[in-house]
């Protein structure tokens, strides 16, 4: 096939899937949370309650799009767009199958880290531009959380980079043909999982939103589709983290030969999304100072030890 055409097809395919995944996740999350809490969840509208997605979308589109008069207008409007944009751009380097990647960058991991940390501007700006105290506290929490967890998010991945000898995600996946990196890099996997959750500010690390403390945190003042974009952005961010975990630690699209590679990839990613929802149901939200001190006192040193140990082992092997 014509390479330009193939890139176009892959790009559109990924974009299409992602936007739909974000919508379907609304339903998946509600149903699964309900099941985990011995309830049934929304099951009335349409088969299995699937039409709740349509109802939700219609609802969110027809709500009044209200910009508070005290808000900083331009920033207030831009903020939701940033989170969606960065999450989508972050997806460009994820290989969903052999050769099926939008941007085959040789610095894939760095690109991903850069864009996932750019996403912080969305929440911080939203908190700032809303010009209300709860939103501001949410934004500040996001900033602090991001700075502390960003540091070892990168460090936890370096073990994988050392083992694979490349920053290119497709090559990292190829390097896992013998063994998934989750085994030699188990510590790195756990740390990346926690940092990724903190990065997407999902429960249990949803301190920037923390409904029980901060009303709704950084998006307190947002309504209608602007709020919807935050929602979609959060789900795509969640999918991105799940996809990265799969790519870096669980062999990406590698799987039994009789299943198409993209399907294997989607299946693994979905399993992790379900795991994130399980975490949401099971684990209580930590206090803010606890969360930061775990980050700095335990996870950062662990990530460093992991990095040094991996490097040392690789050097010893090489000799």
């Amino acid at each position: 096939m014509n390479p330009t055409l193939q890139t176009l097809a892959v790009t559109l395919g990924i974009l299409f899937t992602l936007l739909h995944v974000a919508a379907v996740l609304i339903w998946v999350e509600r149903r699964l949370l309900a099941l985990l809490q011995d309830r049934l969840g929304p099951n009335r509208a349409g088969p299995l309650g699937l039409f709740i997605i349509v109802a939700d979308v219609i609802k969110i589109f027809t709500k009044e799009d209200w910009i508070p008069p005290f808000a900083d207008r331009p920033l207030y409007v831009i903020a939701p767009a940033i989170i969606l944009l960065t999450a989508l751009v972050g997806f460009t380097i994820v290989p969903v199958g052999p050769g099926m990647v939008v941007l085959d960058l040789n610095i894939g991991i760095l690109f991903f880290l850069a864009f996932s940390s750019l996403g912080i501007y969305s929440t911080v700006l939203a908190g700032w531009a809303s010009n209300s105290k709860y939103a501001l506290i949410g934004g500040l929490r996001m900033a602090a959380q991001m700075f502390s967890y960003e540091v070892f998010m990168g460090l936890s991945l370096m073990g994988v980079v050392i083992l694979a000898g490349s920053l290119n995600l497709s090559e990292i996946v190829e390097a896992q043909r013998g063994m998934w990196f989750v085994l030699p890099q188990f510590l790195g996997f756990v740390i990346f999982l926690l940092a990724g959750l903190a990065e997407t500010h999902r429960l249990p690390f949803d301190l920037p939103e923390a409904e029980s403390e901060l009303v709704a945190g950084f998006h307190t003042e947002y309504s209608s589709m602007k709020f919807g974009i935050f929602f979609v952005g959060e789900y795509i961010g969640l999918t991105l983290i799940a996809a990265m975990i799969v790519t870096l630690f669980f062999g990406g699209w590698l799987g039994p030969a009789w299943i198409p590679a993209p399907l294997v990839f989607c299946f693994k990613t979905f399993a992790f999304i379900l795991f994130f929802i399980l975490m949401r149901a099971a684990i209580p939200r930590p206090r803010f100072d606890q969360m930061l001190s775990w980050g700095w006192k335990y996870l950062l040193p662990l990530a460093l030890i992991n990095l040094i140990a991996t490097g040392a082992l690789v050097l010893i092997r090489a000799d």
Partner: protein, 171 residues
């Protein structure tokens, strides 16, 4: 850390538990016999209205949703001319039932009274009155009360001795 992993596992196991949800329109919740729901007015075993229009229920009602007006028939038997309960205000506290001296007003296990029009929540006597005796059987106020009405003089009620003449010296 271990406890977190344990709780993850335990919450995961809840996926396979029995559901607590009652799927309402198809599946109904159990209502106890003394469940306090829609209000009815009952009749005595002879088919007469039990309510004697004493206004006690209206006085006991904390939200004042009962309105009635007393009248008498040719036998001197009191009954409500109209009896109106506004169910959009009723809180189903059951005080009216407790206050009623004749077991006339009763709350029954039924709560499916939704209406599109709020005015339809106001029930008149025809809507409230049922043909049976409700929860309390065999009670007939005028048969046991010492009051004289047409067809029954003083001393003719059940378990009632004839009135004595206080001016008479004979034992």
């Amino acid at each position: 850390m271990l406890s977190l992993i344990k709780s993850l596992w335990l919450v995961f196991l809840h996926l396979f538990r029995k559901r607590f949800t009652i799927q309402y329109p198809e599946e109904k919740a159990y209502l106890a016999p003394r469940y306090r729901g829609r209000i009815i007015l009952s009749r005595d075993p002879d088919g007469g209205e039990r309510c004697v229009a004493c206004y006690l229920c209206a006085a006991a009602c904390p939200v004042e949703c009962i309105a009635l007006d007393a009248t008498e028939d040719e036998n001197g038997r009191r009954y409500p001319d109209f009896f109106r309960i506004n169910f959009s205000r009723c809180i189903y506290c059951g005080y009216c039932e407790e206050a009623c001296p004749t077991y006339a007003i009763q709350l029954v296990p039924d709560f499916e009274m939704a209406e599109y029009n709020r005015q339809n929540m106001v029930y008149e006597k025809e809507d409230l009155l049922i043909d049976g005796e409700g929860k309390y059987h065999g009670y007939n106020y005028y048969k046991v009360a010492g009051i004289a009405i047409g067809g029954k003089d003083k001393g003719e009620g059940e378990n009632e001795s004839s009135p004595i003449d206080p001016k008479d010296l004979m034992p």
